[in-house]
């Protein structure tokens, strides 16, 4: 089922609404090139799955998009904020720019990274309170709303260590959503979860997709990638080998490397 994508009209030209653009992102770790100039355009409302073998650079690529890793070179634009890296020193101004850019991005981690010394509700409220300086009662109302949406209404006062893995990851999604991002980045959100717990999380992501949230998901869950994505990127060796609709990638892969990868998954 295709959904409607809102399209922004600028002047008299109808433009595709690219909410995120990455250009020629490179990154090396101790001399080894992990990303070899990746570029990506993301339309608003897309759910993009990024797949590929371990160590192909897909997590690094995701982390470069909100500057948790600083790319060696390349440029990222999200909404109206763009930030380019050219290998020179990270300046105060870069940090300010990165801060502006991150205000449009939410991130969800494989290991959840909830704050263990705060309750679920406090986890979700913390950033709106302290970063956006939203009034406490309003922050709490928003947080409760989000927690209800991800199905955690009954555990809001628990500490993270009393939640199941699925609950933790849904809390982490609520926490990221509380900052009202335009793009959500997921770094292997279900890799640490049993299949049934994964499903709790994936259904939340599908619901968000229905609402028009833009989502980039690094995942090993091919069933999810095939069923839920608008687009699938296949990464290997720090390059985008192939990109297209789930049907193109999974049913009719054009590249030999993609085919080999899919074959190893089946065997």
């Amino acid at each position: 089922m295709r959904k409607c994508r809102p399209v922004l009209l600028k002047g008299t030209f109808a433009l595709t609404d690219l909410v995120l653009q990455a250009k020629m992102i490179t990154k090396s770790f101790s001399g080894q090139e992990i990303l070899k100039g990746l570029s990506l355009d993301v339309e608003r409302g897309d759910l993009i799955s990024i797949i590929g073998p371990s160590g192909c650079g897909k997590s690094t690529f995701l982390r470069c998009l909100n500057f948790l890793e600083h790319p060696d070179s390349g440029e990222v634009r999200i909404e109206t904020v763009s930030l380019a890296c050219d290998g020179s020193r990270w300046t105060r101004q870069d940090e300010v720019r990165a801060h502006q850019l991150r205000s449009h991005v939410g991130m969800v981690f494989q290991s959840f990274n909830l704050f263990p010394h705060r309750t679920v509700l406090e986890n979700v409220m913390m950033a709106p309170l302290h970063v956006k300086k939203i009034a406490p009662d309003q922050a709490e109302a928003t947080a409760m709303e989000l927690l209800e949406k991800v199905g955690l209404k009954n555990v809001v006062d628990r500490y993270p260590d009393r939640l199941s893995g699925g609950q933790k990851q849904r809390a982490a999604i609520a926490r990221a959503l509380a900052m009202k991002p335009s793009v959500m980045l997921y770094d292997e959100p279900t890799s640490a979860l049993d299949p049934e717990l994964s499903e709790e999380v994936l259904s939340v992501m599908r619901a968000l997709d229905q609402e028009g949230m833009t989502q980039l998901v690094v995942t090993h869950d091919m069933r999810f990638a095939r069923a839920a994505s608008d687009r699938v990127l296949y990464l290997e060796g720090g390059e985008i080998v192939e990109s297209g609709s789930p049907d193109q990638i999974f049913a009719h892969p054009q590249e030999a490397r993609t085919r080999r990868f899919l074959r190893t998954l089946l065997s």
Binding site: G106, M107, N113, F115, H117, H130, V131, A172
Partner: protein
């Protein structure tokens, strides 16, 4: 006369006095360092044990007695001033001169060449000899030569010690405290004692005796800062007067210390007119209370309570303030070392290594006696607080750094991804979690700081340990005061332990929730 570190401190003084000479201090008429007003004459001595020089009255611990104390009371009026005793530990006596804490030191200091290099001496106010003390009935140990091959005890840095080293460098032991020395003779750990005659007289109990002829010669002088010869001259004049008018004779007679040597030295061969009342009083008093007299002991212990209370307050005040410094500076150092830019990180690391790698005692002495040469003068109390605080900050910093390292990397990433600034991430996410793991270690450190606060006694602060040393050496009773002071430490430490437990519980709640 006694105790270790003497050489070091005399050298320190020599250096410091050189510094002040070169800064051009000049005195037309004499100056009185440490004087609070025109008529004040502050002088110092170590009044712990130290009978019969300057000591605390066993009958009333707040009174100070001694033949040197009496002598100062006679000298002061001749300078149109009032004598004021300032307590200081033996190690601090001479450095205190250069810090101008007081005008002079009188504590049985021998006028040896090495001492003369560091301070200015008055003419001798007492000449005496060393004596041999043995357990009653011991035969054949009555000459210096006879002592050869036997285990002999004495006090550190004395003429007796030098004699023993010359004669038989292996078979002797040096003590800090007279009481310990005589206890070891009594229990048979020593065969004999060679010591200044006044000490021999006063510490020799009924089961011991002084034997043989006097050995060697000793002269005691009053010590002054090298920059103050005018004051020394004035005191010399006063001593001259006291010798001429017989006052010195009277004082020494009162303490049973007038000897043929003194007669020879002063040229005063007159009959002694004063009875040895002070001597008799002291001997009666010490014989008075025996351990079997339970009621008397009980009353004595009760009378210790106010002193121990004062010691507790001092210990608590010094420790609590030092902890505040240690925690605040420790957090700053840990953050700098963990997150700071390279040069700051290196400085913080250097600070931590230096402070952890050197003894606290040296740091305290350095801050109190050393820094004034650089123009930084702290009162004993603040010097103690600062030294302890700076020292423990280094240990706390490493604790906190370990705490920071124990917080998973993902926590910082999650905070940054939520668009917190580094500072917000630290304040809201990292530090609270790090603190939780650090609290048990901190409790340990605080208790150990409480005990280390005893070291500030070297800079004239009378806290619990100093109170114990004073009480036990005054009464030769190490058990009763020991138990009382031990209990006082526990009492002071308990609130910290409770507090730490509470904090641990409060902060641990979040984490331990699911695990019980």
């Amino acid at each position: 006369m006694k105790r270790p570190g003497l050489c070091f401190l005399f050298c320190l003084l020599a250096v410091l006095s050189f510094l002040s000479v070169s800064s051009g201090v000049r005195a037309e008429s004499y100056r009185v360092p440490g004087a609070q007003n025109e008529t004040d004459l502050p002088w110092s001595s170590d009044g712990e044990a130290n009978v019969p020089y300057v000591f605390h009255d066993p009958a009333n611990d707040r009174h100070v007695l001694g033949f040197e104390y009496d002598l100062m009371n006679e000298i002061a009026p001749l300078l149109n001033r009032k004598s004021r005793f300032v307590q200081n530990g033996w190690e601090g006596l001479i450095p205190g001169l250069s810090r101008d804490l007081y005008a002079m030191v009188i504590d049985g200091i021998e006028m040896t060449p090495e001492h003369k290099a560091a301070v200015l001496f008055s003419r001798p106010y007492y000449v005496t000899t060393d004596r041999i003390v043995v357990r009653k009935g011991t035969k054949g140990l009555d000459t210096l030569e006879a002592l050869k091959g036997h285990l002999i005890g004495t006090i550190k840095s004395t003429a007796a010690e030098r004699l023993l080293i010359q004669q038989d460098p292996k078979n002797f032991r040096s003590y800090d405290e007279e009481t310990n020395l005589f206890t070891d003779l009594r229990t048979g750990r020593l065969d004999a004692i060679l010591i200044d005659e006044p000490i021999a007289l006063y510490y020799c109990s009924a089961d011991m005796e002084i034997v043989g002829k006097p050995v060697g010669e000793i002269a005691y002088g009053i010590a002054f800062s090298k920059t103050n010869p005018a004051l020394r001259d004035a005191v010399d004049q006063a001593l001259e007067t006291l010798i001429k008018n017989g006052k010195l004779h009277d004082i020494l007679a009162k303490w049973n210390l007038w000897t043929p040597q003194m007669a020879h030295y002063t040229g005063d061969y007159s009959e002694t007119s004063v009875k040895p009342v002070a001597w008799e009083q002291y001997r009666t008093l010490m014989a008075g209370v025996s351990a079997s007299d339970t009621m008397a002991l009980f009353h004595r212990y009760v009378s210790f309570l106010p002193l121990i209370g004062e010691g507790m307050v001092m210990t608590l005040a010094v420790s609590a303030l030092a902890m505040v410094i240690a925690v605040a500076l420790g957090v700053a150092l840990a953050l700098v070392r963990h997150y700071g830019v390279a040069p700051l990180r290196i400085i913080a690391g250097f600070y931590i290594e230096v402070v952890r790698g050197t003894p606290l005692l040296i740091q305290i002495l350095f801050i109190f006696y050393g820094l004034p040469a650089l123009g930084i003068r702290l009162s004993p109390f603040f010097a103690g607080v600062v030294a302890l605080g700076l020292n423990y900050a280094a240990y706390e910093a490493e604790n906190y750094r370990a705490g920071l390292l124990s917080v998973p990397r993902g926590q910082m990433e999650a905070a940054i991804a939520l668009n917190m600034t580094h500072f917000q991430a630290l304040r809201l996410v990292i530090v609270p979690q790090a603190f939780r793991t650090v609290v048990p270690v901190m409790t340990n450190d605080f208790i150990s700081l409480l005990k280390d606060s005893s070291l500030v006694s070297v800079i004239t602060l009378t806290e619990l340990s100093q109170t114990y040393i004073r009480l036990s050496s005054t009464y030769y009773d190490y058990i009763g005061p020991g138990l009382m002071v031990g209990a006082a430490y526990l009492l002071v430490g308990l609130p910290f332990v409770r507090l730490a437990h509470m904090a641990e519980k409060r902060m641990g709640k979040a984490i331990n929730h699911g695990h019980h």
